[in-house]
C-alpha cells in the first residue's frame, strides 16, 4: 500500500469523526431529539472523542455533551457517572479558550439540575479550575466560568460556601468591572445566587467591595443587567439591618426610583423588591425611604403594573405602614390607598389579594384617623365579601379577618360601618356593633341617621346570647334611644299592634 492510501484511511476516519460530532451537536440543540440520542448511547460514544487529537473534534464533542446535559437531567447524571468530568476538569486548565468555554458549558449544564449533581461537580475539583478560568483574558471564558459557578451556588448554602471557599468572590467583583455587558450580567447574577442563602455569605460578598460597583451599575441602560444588579442588592439587603444600611449608604436612593419607571416589567419588580427588603428592617430605614419620595414612586409603580409584578410594591407599603402611625399617615397622604383597593378588585391571584389586604390592615390599624381614611374608600365592603367568599383560600380569609378586626376596632366612621351590619358574620358583627355602641351615646346626629337608615331595626333583629359581649353592646345601643322607638323597631311589633287592635273594644 502506498503512503497515500494509508493516509487516506486516516483522513476518512477523521472526516467521519468530525461529521459525527458536528451532527450530534446539531441534533442535540433540539430538545426533542435528546431522548433518541440517549437511547442510542451517545454519551459513551462522545467520551473518547473528548480526548481526540484534533482540537475541533474535542471542542465540538464538549459542546454536544453540554447541550445534551442541559436539557435532560438523566443525561446529566449519565455524564457524571460516566466518569467524564475528571478529564474535562483537567483539560480546563490546559487547553485553549474555545475548549475552556465548551467545558464550562458542560459543567454549567450538569450543575443546573439538582444539588446532588452540583455536589458531584464540586467533588471532582471543578471549582478550582473554574476559578482559574475566571482569571483568563478572554471574556467569553470568564463568562462561562462565572455562569457555571452561579448555577452551582444556586442550590443551597453549603455549595455556595464551597464556591466562596474556592476564592471566587473577589474575581467575580473584578468581572463586574469589565466592559462587556454580558459578563457583567452573569457576574451580578452569580453574586446574587451566592448571597441569597445566609447573612455570612452576604457579608463575604460585601467585604469584597461588591456593593459600590453594583450601585454604579444601576445607571446602566441595559434592562437585563439592571434586573440582575437589583436582585443582587436585594439579596444582600434582606438579611439584616446592618447589611441594609450598608446598601443604603451606597447612595442608591433616589437612583433606584428611576428603575421603578423603567419600561421592563422585571426591572420594576426587582426595584420594588429591593426597596421592600430595605424598608422592612426598621422604622428609621422606612423613614429614610419616605423622605426620599420612595413611597410615591412605589405607588405609581403599583398603579402601572399588573399581576405578580405588583406584589413587592404592595408588601413594601405594608411594611412601611406597619412601623409607626406617622409613616402610615405618610402613606395615606401619598395617596396609597386607592391603588391598593384597585388591586383588590382587579387581581385574580389569591396571594396578591392577601398581600393587599394585609397592607390595608397595617395602614388602618393605628388610630381612628387612619381607619377613617381606609373606610372612606368603601373597601370594607369588599373585604367583607372576600372574607365570606367560599372560593377564597384559607390564607386570604385569615388575613382578611385580621385586617377587618384591626380596622374595625379603630373605626368611628359610621357611614362606612352601616352597610356592613347587614351581611357580617357574628364574629365581625361583634366588633361593628361594639363600635356603634361607643360612638352613638355621644353623637345625636349619628343617632338620628342610625335610626333612619334602618340600623336600629337591624340591631333588634340580631339574636345574641344573653350575657355575651354582643348583648351588652346591643343593650348599650338600645339605652341610647327612647323606649318607644326601640319597641317600634323590634321584630314582631306590627303583629303586636294588630293583636291590640283586635282585642280593643271601641269606646263609644
Amino acid at each position: 500500500m502506498s503512503q497515500r492510501q494509508v493516509l487516506q484511511v486516516f483522513e476518512q476516519y477523521q472526516r467521519a469523526r468530525t461529521h459525527f460530532v458536528q451532527a450530534v451537536a446539531e441534533l442535540s440543540s433540539r430538545p426533542q431529539n435528546v431522548g433518541t440520542l440517549r437511547d442510542a448511547g451517545v454519551i459513551s460514544l462522545l467520551r473518547p472523542l473528548l480526548l481526540d487529537v484534533v482540537p475541533t473534534i474535542q471542542q465540538t464533542a464538549a459542546l454536544a455533551l453540554g447541550r445534551l446535559a442541559y436539557f435532560n437531567d438523566d443525561l446529566a447524571e449519565a455524564v457524571v457517572t460516566g466518569d467524564i468530568l475528571p478529564p474535562l476538569v483537567c483539560s480546563l486548565s490546559e487547553q485553549n479558550r474555545f475548549y475552556k468555554k465548551a467545558a464550562a458549558f458542560v459543567l454549567r449544564a450538569v450543575g443546573k439540575h439538582s444539588p446532588q449533581l452540583a455536589q458531584a461537580i464540586v467533588e471532582c475539583g471543578a471549582l478550582e479550575a473554574l476559578v482559574i478560568c475566571l482569571e483568563d483574558f478572554d471574556p467569553g471564558v470568564k463568562e462561562g466560568a462565572a455562569w457555571a459557578l452561579g448555577y452551582i451556588a444556586r442550590h443551597n448554602s453549603e455549595l455556595s460556601q464551597a464556591v466562596v471557599d474556592a476564592g471566587a468572590v473577589p474575581l467575580l467583583v473584578l468581572c463586574i468591572q469589565e466592559p462587556e455587558i454580558a459578563l457583567k450580567r452573569i457576574a451580578a447574577s452569580t453574586l446574587s445566587d451566592i448571597s441569597k442563602h445566609s447573612p455570612e455569605l452576604a457579608q463575604t460578598v460585601v467585604d469584597a467591595g461588591a456593593i459600590a460597583f453594583l450601585a454604579q451599575m444601576i445607571l446602566n441602560p441595559d434592562a437585563k443587567l439592571k434586573c440582575q444588579v437589583l436582585s443582587a442588592l436585594s439579596q444582600i439587603a434582606k438579611h439584616s439591618v446592618d447589611l441594609a444600611e450598608l446598601v443604603v449608604e451606597a447612595e442608591i436612593f433616589p437612583v433606584v426610583l428611576t428603575c421603578l419607571k423603567d419600561s421592563d416589567e422585571y426591572v420594576k419588580k426587582n426595584g420594588a423588591t429591593l426597596i421592600r427588603e430595605i424598608a422592612k428592617h426598621s422604622p428609621e430605614l422606612s423613614q429614610f425611604i419616605v423622605n426620599a419620595g420612595g413611597v410615591a414612586a412605589v405607588i405609581d409603580c403599583i398603579g402601572s403594573c399588573k399581576g405578580t409584578v405588583r406584589l413587592p410594591g404592595i408588601m413594601m407599603l405594608g411594611y412601611v405602614a406597619a412601623h409607626s402611625e406617622n409613616l402610615s399617615m405618610a402613606v395615606i397622604v401619598s395617596k396609597g390607598i386607592p391603588p391598593l383597593c384597585a388591586c383588590l378588585l382587579e387581581e385574580h391571584e389569591d396571594h396578591i389579594k392577601a398581600a393587599a389586604v394585609w397592607a390595608l390592615g397595617q395602614i388602618g390599624r393605628h388610630t381612628p384617623e387612619h381607619a377613617r381614611a381606609v373606610a372612606e374608600t368603601n373597601v370594607l365592603a369588599t373585604l367583607l365579601s372576600m372574607y365570606m367568599d367560599i372560593h377564597s383560600s384559607e390564607d386570604l380569609q385569615l388575613k382578611t379577618k385580621r385586617a377587618l378586626k384591626n380596622i374595625l376596632q379603630k373605626c368611628t366612621y359610621l357611614p362606612a360601618l352601616e352597610p356592613l351590619l347587614h351581611d357580617a358574620p357574628p364574629n365581625i358583627l361583634k366588633h361593628i356593633v361594639g363600635q356603634f355602641s361607643k360612638v352613638l351615646p355621644h353623637d345625636t346626629k349619628a343617632r338620628c341617621l342610625f335610626v333612619t337608615t334602618g340600623g336600629l331595626k337591624k340591631i333588634q333583629e340580631i339574636k345574641a346570647e344573653p350575657g355575651s359581649l354582643l348583648q351588652e353592646y346591643i343593650n348599650t345601643i338600645n339605652s341610647c334611644f327612647p323606649e318607644e322607638v326601640v319597641r317600634y323597631y323590634s321584630p314582631g311589633y306590627s303583629d303586636m299592634l294588630l293583636e291590640r287592635v283586635e282585642n280593643y273594644q271601641p269606646v263609644l
Binding site: 458536528q22 482540537p55 475541533t56 471542542q59 479558550r97 421603578l260 419600561s263 419620595g293 414612586a297
Partner: protein, 359 residues
C-alpha cells in the same frame, strides 16, 4: 419522862449546835447574799434590756413612718413637676401636631416633585426609544431603496412609484432618486469572529485586548495637534494575534502534517499520479531539473502564442460585425416595407408623458 431525858441530853449539845448552826449560816450568808444579789441583778438587767429593746423598736417604727410620710409628700411634689414637664415635652416634640402636619405636607410636596421627575425620565426614555425606532426604520428604508434602485423611473418608462395618474410622485420615488445603487459586493454585516458552530449566546464581540490603560509617561507634554491618543495607538499596534479556530486547529493535526509532507515531496520530485512504471519516473526526475541536460537538445522549440501572432490591435470583434460597406450597395434607398407596421411599435415613446416629469 424519856423525852425529857432525851431533851436534857441534847441540851448540853444545844448551845454548841446553836452556835455551830449560826456560824455556818453566818459563813454562808455572804455567799448566799452575793448569789441572791447576782441573780436579782441579772434578772433586773434582762427586764431593762427587754424594755429598751422594745423602746428602740418603737422608735424605729415611728421614725420609719415619719420619714416615709415626708418623702411621699416630697415625691408627690416631684411627680407634679415631672408630670407637667412630660406633658409639655410630648405635646411639643413627640406628638407635635403642627410639626406632623408640616411634615406630611412636605412629604406630599416631595412626592409631587419625585413623581414629576420620574415622569420626565420616563418620557425621555420613551422619546429616545421612539427616536431609535424611527432611525432604524429610516435606515431600513434607505437600504431597501438602494437595493431596489432599478425601480427608478426613466425618461421612457415611468416607474411603479410614479404613475401618471398621480399628482406627484410617491415618496418612495423621491427616495429612489436620492439613493446610490448597491454594489454587488456582499455587505459585511457579520463580524469576522463569529463562528457558526460555537453559538455562544453572549460575547459576540471579538476577545478584547486586556483592559487597562497604559500609564502615560511622566513629565511628558501633550503633543500639540490632532494626534490620536497614545494609548489607542499602542493598543492597535500591539494587538495580539487572535487566530480563528480554523487556523488554530489545523496547524497541529498529524494527518495534515503528513499530507503536507507528501505534497512537499511531490513538489520536489514532481511525481505524477498516473505514471505506472518506476523507471519512467526516474527518467523524468532526472530530466527536468538537471541543468544543461542533453535530453532536450533535439526537441523543437514551440513558439508561445504571444510571440507567434502579429502585433497590433485585433480587428476581430471590432470591425467584422455590423459592418457597413456603402460602395457595395446597389441602390441608394432603404428597403421598402411590404408588411404593415406593428401598431404597438408605432406608439413607442408617444403613449405616456415624458417620463419623470409632472404632467
Amino acid at each position: 419522862m424519856a423525852a425529857l431525858v432525851r431533851l436534857e441530853a441534847r441540851l448540853s449539845r444545844l448551845r454548841e449546835e446553836y452556835f455551830r448552826k449560826n456560824r455556818s449560816v453566818d459563813e454562808d450568808r455572804k455567799i448566799v447574799y452575793k448569789a441572791a444579789v447576782k441573780i436579782q441583778s441579772w434578772f433586773r438587767g434582762c427586764r431593762v434590756r427587754a424594755y429598751l429593746r422594745y423602746l428602740s423598736k418603737m422608735v424605729i417604727l415611728i421614725q420609719k413612718w415619719w420619714r416615709g410620710y415626708q418623702s411621699r409628700r416630697y415625691f408627690r411634689k416631684m411627680i407634679k413637676i415631672q408630670k407637667t414637664w412630660r406633658g409639655y415635652y410630648v405635646r411639643k416634640y413627640t406628638h407635635n401636631y403642627y410639626a406632623l402636619k408640616k411634615y406630611l405636607e412636605a412629604i406630599s410636596l416631595n412626592n409631587e416633585i419625585v413623581r414629576n421627575e420620574l415622569q420626565e425620565y420616563a418620557e425621555m426614555n420613551e422619546k429616545e426609544k421612539k427616536k431609535k425606532d424611527l432611525e432604524k426604520k429610516e435606515k431600513e428604508k434607505k437600504y431597501k431603496a438602494r437595493k431596489m434602485h432599478y425601480l427608478l423611473s426613466t425618461e421612457q418608462i415611468a416607474g411603479i412609484y410614479n404613475s401618471p395618474f398621480r399628482k406627484s410622485p410617491d415618496p418612495m420615488e423621491l427616495l429612489l432618486r436620492q439613493s446610490k445603487p448597491l454594489s454587488h459586493r456582499q455587505q459585511r454585516v457579520k463580524s469576522p469572529f463569529t463562528y457558526d458552530l460555537y453559538d455562544w449566546p453572549t460575547c459576540k464581540r471579538p476577545p478584547a485586548f486586556p483592559t487597562g490603560e497604559p500609564l502615560p509617561p511622566i513629565g511628558r507634554q501633550k503633543p500639540q495637534g490632532p494626534f490620536r491618543d497614545t494609548a489607542e495607538v499602542l493598543r492597535q499596534r500591539y494587538k495580539p494575534l487572535e487566530p480563528t479556530l480554523r487556523v488554530a486547529a489545523s496547524i497541529s493535526s498529524p494527518l495534515e502534517k503528513a499530507r503536507e509532507e507528501m505534497k512537499r515531496e511531490e513538489w520536489i520530485k514532481c511525481i505524477h499520479e498516473h505514471d505506472v512504471l518506476f523507471t519512467e519516473k526516474i527518467l523524468i526526475i532526472h530530466s527536468r531539473f538537471l541543468p544543461f541536460s542533453s535530453y532536450h537538445k533535439n526537441k523543437k522549440y514551440e513558439l508561445s502564442i504571444h510571440a507567434s501572432e502579429k502585433k497590433g490591435k485585433e480587428t476581430y470583434g471590432i470591425k467584422h460585425f455590423r459592418e457597413v460597406q456603402p460602395n457595395k450597395w446597389i441602390a441608394g434607398k432603404d428597403f421598402q416595407t411590404v408588411l404593415p407596421s406593428i401598431v404597438l411599435f408605432e406608439k413607442f415613446g408617444k403613449t405616456y408623458s415624458r417620463a419623470g416629469q409632472i404632467v
